[in-house]
């Protein structure tokens, strides 16, 4: 499976990382090197083997469904690049 420049562009778009058109061929080549390495996994017989979901056999703990945190709006917003009137501010998303 070889990745071309269009696939590289599609992946960059999905990852929301801007990649200039002239950088796409090199990026595609790097993907191909890494994916070529990953292809080795096809040699393994995985028939009937479950995909791992948890490395240590454990059941996630449960707790009462009650509010146990909150009321810290200034702390939540303290590191925002743009916060106004108690909200995160972003460029306009709707006309």
């Amino acid at each position: 499976m070889s990745i071309d420049k269009d696939t590289a562009a599609r992946v960059a778009k999905l990852a929301r990382i801007k990649v200039e058109a002239e950088a796409l061929p090199a990026l595609a080549a790097e993907f191909n090197t890494i994916l070529g390495f990953i292809e080795q996994l096809n040699e393994v017989d995985v028939e009937g083997i479950e995909p791992m979901t948890s490395v240590t056999p454990q059941r996630l703990k449960r707790r009462q469904d009650v509010v146990n945190d909150g009321n810290q709006q200034p702390k939540v917003l303290a590191n925002a690049p743009d916060a106004r009137e108690g909200f995160f501010a972003v460029p306009k998303v709707m006309e």
Partner: protein, 495 residues
């Protein structure tokens, strides 16, 4: 007393308790050493005011006879741990200026035990790297050199700042994190001790996430005893991390008897790689002989899926990273790109992430995005998770057959030069983790112990891998190996 910064945790603790030194004196010695070691670039953010304030408080507790385990001991904290009110950037431009409003559980445990934070340690960006060359703060330079050659060497990565700081005596010990070898490989490169505990032993809460099913914190220290002391403080159940194990943490230091008689130590044949340097072969054979002399039984074993660990890792880790790093969108924290008139929210995301992430992080996020994308999820991601099940089963089988611990080299070579791998393709850099990554995939504890020097005078380490939750037994075997090896070399001071 001079050279207090050269002490380990255990020695300094004992002197403090006898009243023969103070935490302020220890801390001053470290701060002086840090200021004189700018050339190493190990500390990214220094916190001398916090350090001296905590040291004074620790001295009061020591005087009052109320000293917890690490009271008054100055340490460095990897930049990946959120520290309240103190810059935390994970070595990335995208978190520039981020000052968390909270403290990670592990660093809080260290505060509660009375330890003193000297500052935040440089690291590969988002812990992605094996040479500390992907950091926004610039490369960390190892205090070690090849004999009289002045070429700058890597301290390893991603916990390169931690390893360099401990090896150069800028602090008594440091925290590290390990997703594929990021504690054990830099420890091996710098002649220090590093342990990655069992997955779930240390809380991940407040540790900037890379690959959540693999990430674990652990100590980087000057001795196995120090690792035992510090791991006990760092570990423990935390309700804020749902994968944190609700198990009692034993007194690891009390388990260091050095008695390994009757222990079965496995030597996995798959770790004997083509082209392995003779120095590593010799180191490994010598380590096995030392444990045999100490009364252990050496057994040849097989871990048949070893070869597939790195390719499985380079599917699973990028996949998890692409999900975890989706949060860096220029909205809630860190860097936001300057926008042109008419740019919308998508342009904001794309420009912010292109400016904020370095090339290696971008590469891994995109590889992760690809292997999780529609049509490839089964072929790559699910297949890698199946292979991971088989890798874990390899270990379960040998432990079930009576093996107590497994001895391997920690790295395929000694430290290489900074910039030496610049023209190599990414996969060649990934091969650094070939002996360590299996342990993360299987969730096991692993420790790197310095046991020798190569022909150029650079340190080499061996790795011991233990059973889940049996860090105490593993540390004891490591202690026996450390005692037999008698590694005392230190880098000559040139900085």
């Amino acid at each position: 007393m001079s050279d207090l910064n050269k002490l380990g945790l255990a020695e300094a603790r004992d002197l403090l308790r006898k009243g023969e030194t103070s935490s302020v004196e220890l801390t001053q010695a470290c701060l002086t050493a840090i200021d004189a070691a700018g050339a190493l670039n190990a500390f990214a953010h220094k916190t001398p005011e916090i350090a001296l304030q905590r040291a004074s408080a620790a001295d009061l507790r020591l005087k009052a006879g109320d000293a917890p385990a690490m009271c008054g001991l100055p340490i460095g904290i990897k930049d990946l741990f959120c520290t309240k009110g103190v810059d935390t950037q994970a070595g990335s431009r995208i978190l520039q200026g981020f000052k968390p409003e909270y403290e990670s559980t592990v660093s809080q445990n260290l505060i509660d035990s009375g330890s003193v934070m000297l500052g935040k340690l440089n690291m590969d960006e988002f812990a992605m790297g094996s040479s500390n060359e992907t950091s926004v703060y610039g490369d960390v330079v190892s205090p070690w050199r090849r004999g009289d050659d002045t070429a700058a060497l890597t301290p390893g990565g991603s916990s390169g700042g931690s390893a360099a700081a401990v090896a150069a005596d800028l602090c008594l010990a440091a925290t590290g994190t390990d997703t594929g070898g990021s504690i054990r490989q830099p420890a091996a490169f710098t002649g220090t001790v590093g342990i990655k505990p069992t997955y779930g032993r240390c809380s991940r809460w407040g540790v900037v996430a890379f690959a959540s099913s693999l990430d674990q914190a652990g100590p980087m220290t000057k001795s196995v005893r120090d690792a035992a002391i510090m791991l006990e403080v760092m570990a423990g159940h935390d309700a804020k991390d749902s994968t944190s194990a609700d198990l009692a943490v034993p007194n690891f230091e009390a388990m260091l008897s050095g008695d390994t008689r009757g222990k079965k130590i496995g030597i996995p044949k798959e770790y004997r790689m083509d082209g392995m340097p003779a120095a590593i072969e010799t180191l490994w054979a010598d380590g096995a002989a030392m444990l045999k002399d100490a009364g252990a039984e050496i057994v040849d074993i097989s871990l048949p899926h070893t070869k597939y660990a790195l390719p499985a890792y380079y599917v699973i880790a990028p996949a998890e990273a692409s999900s975890n790093l989706a949060r860096y969108d220029g909205v809630r924290y860190g860097h936001r790109a300057k926008l042109e008139a008419g740019d919308g929210i998508t342009e904001m995301y794309e420009k912010t992430r292109a400016e904020g992430f370095g090339p290696e992080v971008q590469r891994r996020v995109m590889v992760g995005t690809y292997v999780l994308s529609a049509g490839f999820y089964d072929a790559y991601y699910n297949r890698a998770r199946r292979v991971r099940t088989l890798i874990k089963k390899d270990f379960e089988d040998v432990f079930a057959a009576g093996i107590d611990a497994i001895l391997t080299p920690a790295t395929p070579s000694a430290a290489f030069g900074l910039g030496e791998m610049i023209d190599a393709d990414p996969v060649q850099m990934y091969l650094n983790d070939v002996f360590t990554v299996t342990v993360n995939l299987a969730g096991l504890p692993g420790i790197s112990v310095p046991t020798g020097l190569d022909a150029q005078g650079l340190p080499l380490g061996l790795q011991l891998i233990g059973k889940p939750w049996e860090e105490g037994d593993l540390l004891n075997t490591a202690y026996a190996l450390e005692t037999a090896a008698g590694f005392v070399a230190k880098p000559g001071k040139w900085w």
